[in-house]
């Protein structure tokens, strides 16, 4: 790249020129950019990422001003001119405090989520200073020479200079569901549209077959994807949890509208002051509407995500936490979950000789690992290189020159390469024995090809079974001599000479037994879906002392009807040699059986299953496409980490439900009592500013709810959004606080004689104190299904803040602020009575729980 100003604007400028010219035009070479040049370009062009939607402060502020707040503000402004200016100013201060409080919490939660998202990054393979390595895709710059392989998400717009059977899923860009075939040839099309640019790759598309190399032409927002990303963004469908919260909110809005309109109309009919009646009914509506619900849900989810991040579980989509916590079946692969995931080459041999050197050398040549100072890429290919390097055997490859290769795919389950050795051209194939051996018509006998026969096959099969039963994973390697051709393809993978086998070991992970037991305790059944053969999977289960209920392999599954498959997926816990399509079928069958299915996968072939599962989990080291498809990413591939995450997800769900149940009980009862009292009292039972202030204090007390402890028995099993429970709870627990509000009215009217407008402040103060204490303290009863409620320990911060708010509410009438809000001192004998009333109320609700949960079984 001579300079950014001289650089062409889009990929179209590179379509019609040859590869060499592309290198020149972008100021790079076949060795890639130098690190220094890459750094300069990064400073000039900025990081390779799309501008994020990010937190929009103005949007969060606007969200705080719902219609009710606006009506209240309008009423307040009117009352400044024609009513009580003092009350109007106080109400405005309370609104400002409420809005700021809610804004701060939503903003802080949003920031936290942004921080978490940064922990999951997409990698790109780049060649710089002749060295190929993986870098964060944000570090890619125009001119970088990048390599792409099956499963990669293309990191930027790229002009291809080298391809091998390259097919790309460009649906995100073009909507075309069939993969596009790519080449490196120059094109003569003028002004092509994306799908015609066959020698280019576009950011965000996915490699589905083959491999390629190319030079980055554009990064970040200058890419084709950057230009259209806003227009193709689609919101995710609502989860069951979101739908539940929404319908609950709608129910309260309807109730609120009916109640507040009725209160205003009745007060007006009774001849009460119109403006005060309007303020009062709007204040009641605000007291009823769970305006803190979005903030509480966001804070609860982000708190849960933060706690999960501490256990190395990153939640990419917050609302998916509920499904994550509720899963009752987990489908996972074996490597890294039940095994250590540290695959090591243990042995290699030909059919007639142990440690046959060519077996190792051919395996190094027919290999997809990225070899630099360190070796990365496919774990088995990496293991071969590590083995050879550690023993000084890797130099053997220097006698060979690579001519071509045919990448791995999940249909063939093998990889091939063409190498030159002296004057001889060799075609090498390596892969699963059952996919390589059938293509062999010869076997290697002391360096010469001999016709394969049943005895040889039986010997190979016996050896394969013995090793598999011992838990080893096996690859076969075969070869043939081949003539020079312009290109080589999968059709050349025939008439091979079977050379030998490579034996890999991936020891079982001792902690897996405890992790599976923990998942079982959490009500999650684990099923292993592996590409390995059944013998290896069974051996791992045996070594871990995990019972095998039934083993099914890919060919078995093909024979089953859909109805039989639905039955079989319930019985089996090992599915071996399954294809990506079969993984998808297993998940669909489990979902049809009414399970909430989690799927954990890290391979390219896992992406469809991840999209299908209710809870999709991947790991940070996974293929880009899997990471992109997953809602949750584990920084460590460990089932125990996953179990911790599930537990945290359930706690989050449990704490959110507590807020919902709180809103349906004391809060609703208080506002209902206020409405009823306003009809028969010669004064307002509570001033609008007092209602709003109480609401503010109540919201402050609730804010630590997301940090509350959740009883072990509540987190033990999957829970769902239970609408009949919420409805029953509203119906049953709603009237409790009304009973005690009316009782307080009786006490204030008849024991303390506060029945005339002259004693309105005394009445209002008495009711404020009782109403606030019962409204806030009830959380300690409702937060647990246990009885007596004090057998469950509440969270530290919830206890401190709730008790703190109660103390504040008690001393408020004696302060200057209390006077300002229209409160007055209460007589000494009020306090023991209110203490007894609150205690009776809490115990009565606890007794109600016995009836609701134990007797009625909710």
């Amino acid at each position: 790249m001579k300079s950014t100003k001289e650089a062409p604007i889009t990929h179209k400028d590179y379509l019609s020129i040859g590869s060499d010219e592309v290198f020149n035009a972008l100021g790079t070479t076949k060795n890639g950019l130098t690190e220094d040049e890459a750094e300069i370009r990064l400073k000039k062009c900025g990081p390779n990422r799309l501008p994020r939607e990010g937190i929009k402060v103005e949007r969060i502020i606007l969200r705080q001003f719902d219609p009710l707040i606006l009506i209240l503000l309008a009423t307040v402004i009117i009352s400044i001119f024609i009513g009580s200016a003092q009350q109007a100013y106080i109400i405005m201060i309370i609104i400002a405090l409420s809005v700021s409080f809610s804004f701060y919490n939503e903003y802080r939660a949003g920031k936290l989520v942004e921080e978490l998202e940064k922990k999951v990054s997409i990698k790109a393979t780049v060649t710089r200073d002749s060295k190929t390595k993986e870098v964060d895709s944000a570090q890619i710059v125009p001119g970088d020479l990048v390599s792409v392989y099956i499963g990669d998400i293309v990191p930027a717009d790229v002009r291809l200079v080298e391809v091998k059977d390259l097919e790309v899923d460009e649906a995100t860009l073009t909507g075309e569901s069939f993969p596009a075939t790519k080449s490196a040839e120059a094109l003569s099309i003028q002004e092509p549209v994306a799908h015609q640019a066959t020698n280019c790759l576009f950011m965000g598309t996915t490699i589905v077959r083959g491999s390629g190399k190319g030079i980055v032409t554009q990064t970040g927002k200058n890419t084709e994807f950057g230009a259209i990303s806003k227009s193709i963004a689609r919101p995710h469908p609502l989860t069951e949890f979101q739908r539940g919260i929404k319908s609950y909110g709608n129910m309260l809005i309807i109730l609120t509208s009916i109640l507040s309109v009725s209160v205003f109309a009745l007060n007006a009919l009774l001849g009460h002051d119109l403006l005060n009646s309007l303020l009062f009914s709007v204040a009641i509506a605000i007291g009823l509407v769970p305006e803190l619900m979005p903030a509480i849900v966001t804070v609860a989810l982000s708190h849960g995500a933060h706690m999960m991040a501490k256990s190395d579980v990153i939640v990419k989509r917050l609302v998916s936490m509920e499904d994550f916590g509720n899963m009752d079946v987990l489908c996972t692969d074996k490597t890294g979950t039940l095994t250590e995931g540290k695959i090591a080459l243990e042995d290699y041999f030909s059919l007639d000789k142990d440690h046959e050197e060519r077996t190792l050398i051919y395996s190094l040549l027919c290999n997809s690992a990225i070899v630099g100072d360190t070796v990365t890429g496919n774990p088995m290919d990496t293991a071969i290189w590590n083995y050879a390097r550690e023993r000084g055997l890797a130099d053997g490859v220097k006698a060979y020159t690579k001519v071509d290769d045919i990448p791995f795919d999940y249909q063939r389950r093998r990889i091939s390469a063409v190498v030159k050795h002296g004057e001889e051209l060799l075609f090498l194939t390596k892969g699963a024995p059952e996919s390589v051996v059938p293509e062999c018509t010869f076997y290697d006998q002391e360096g010469k090809a001999a016709g394969i026969n049943d005895d040889v096959l039986a010997t190979a099969d016996k050896k394969f079974h013995e090793l598999s039963e011992s838990g080893y994973r096996i690859l076969a390697i075969a070869y043939k001599t081949i003539g020079t051709k312009p290109s080589y393809s999968t059709s050349d993978e025939v008439a091979l000479t079977l050379l030998g086998f490579l034996v890999f070991n991936d020891p079982p992970k001792p902690s897996a037994t405890a992790a599976l037991k923990r998942l079982k305790e959490l009500g999650v059944d684990t099923k292993v879906l592996t590409g390995d053969n059944a013998l290896v999977a069974k051996k791992v289960y045996e070594e871990l002392d995990i019972p095998v209920t039934k083993v099914l392999d890919g060919p078995d599954l093909l024979k089953l009807s859909w109805a039989d498959l639905k039955k079989a997926v319930e019985e089996a816990n090992i599915f071996a040699r399954v294809t990506p399509e079969q993984k998808l079928d297993i998940i669909k069958a489990l979902k049809e059986n009414k399970h909430i299915v989690g799927y954990m996968g890290d391979g390219v072939n896992d992406a469809p299953a991840l999209y299908e599962a209710d809870a999709s989990i991947s790991v940070d080291s996974a293929a880009d496409v899997s990471k992109e498809a997953a809602d949750v990413v584990l920084l460590q591939k460990d089932l125990m980490v996953l179990a911790g995450g599930i537990n945290e997800g359930r706690k989050t769900f449990g704490n959110t439900i507590k807020y919902v149940l709180m809103g349906t009980s004391s809060n609703f009862g208080n506002m209902f009592s206020a409405a009823a009292a306003s009809l028969f009292l010669p004064f307002l039972p509570m001033l609008p500013m007092q209602i709003l202030f109480m609401n503010l204090l109540y919201n402050v007390a609730n804010l630590t709810l997301p940090t509350d402890n959740v009883d072990a028995e509540d987190a033990r099993l999957p829970r769902h959004w239970d609408i009949p429970l919420v409805q029953g709870f509203t119906l049953f627990f709603g009237p409790f606080s009304s009973v005690y509000d009316f009782l307080t009215f009786g006490i204030m009217l008849f024991i303390f004689n506060a029945s005339t407008p002259a004693h309105a402040a005394l009445f209002q103060t008495g009711w404020f104190v009782e109403s606030f204490l019962t409204e806030v303290l009830i959380i300690f009863v409702i937060r647990t299904r246990r009885f007596p409620f004090f057998s469950s320990r509440p969270g530290k911060w919830l206890t401190i803040l709730t008790i703190g708010c109660c103390v504040f509410g008690i001393i408020l009438p004696f302060t200057f602020l209390g006077g300002f809000l229209g409160f007055t001192s209460l007589p000494a004998n009020f306090w023991p009575l209110v203490a007894l009333m609150v205690a009776t109320y809490l115990l009565l609700v606890d007794a109600g729980k016995v009836f609701f949960y134990k007797v009625c079984g909710f």
Binding site: P735, G746, L843
Partner: protein
């Protein structure tokens, strides 16, 4: 309102809220859930009476709250509350789960 005293209002509202609670209890009881795998059986009269202990408590409370406010005695109110609290505690303790297991 004409002809209705504040005390009448008090009795009407507190009675209404407790009666509502009793009706809600009956409604919820009629829709009670059984453990997965079990079949709901008809409860005997003595079982229903036992299941409705909570409702008997509510009826007693209503009576107590009307009387204490009518006689205007804060001492009676305080003493009665203490007795009710003790009764409620006994009810809750007798019904507590036998064993709470922790993983």
């Amino acid at each position: 309102m004409v002809g209705v005293t504040l005390f009448d209002w008090y009795v009407i509202t507190i009675s209404w809220s407790i009666v509502f609670l009793i009706v809600a209890s009956i409604f919820i009881y009629s829709r009670r859930r059984v453990a997965p795998g079990s079949v709901r059986t008809h409860a005997s009269i003595s079982q229903i009476i036992r299941d409705f202990t909570f409702v008997w408590i509510l009826i007693s409370l209503l009576f107590f709250y009307i009387v204490t406010v009518m006689v205007v005695s804060d001492l009676l109110f305080a003493a009665g509350n203490i007795v009710i609290e003790l009764l409620l505690l006994i009810y809750v303790y007798r019904n507590r789960p036998k064993k709470t297991s922790h993983p």
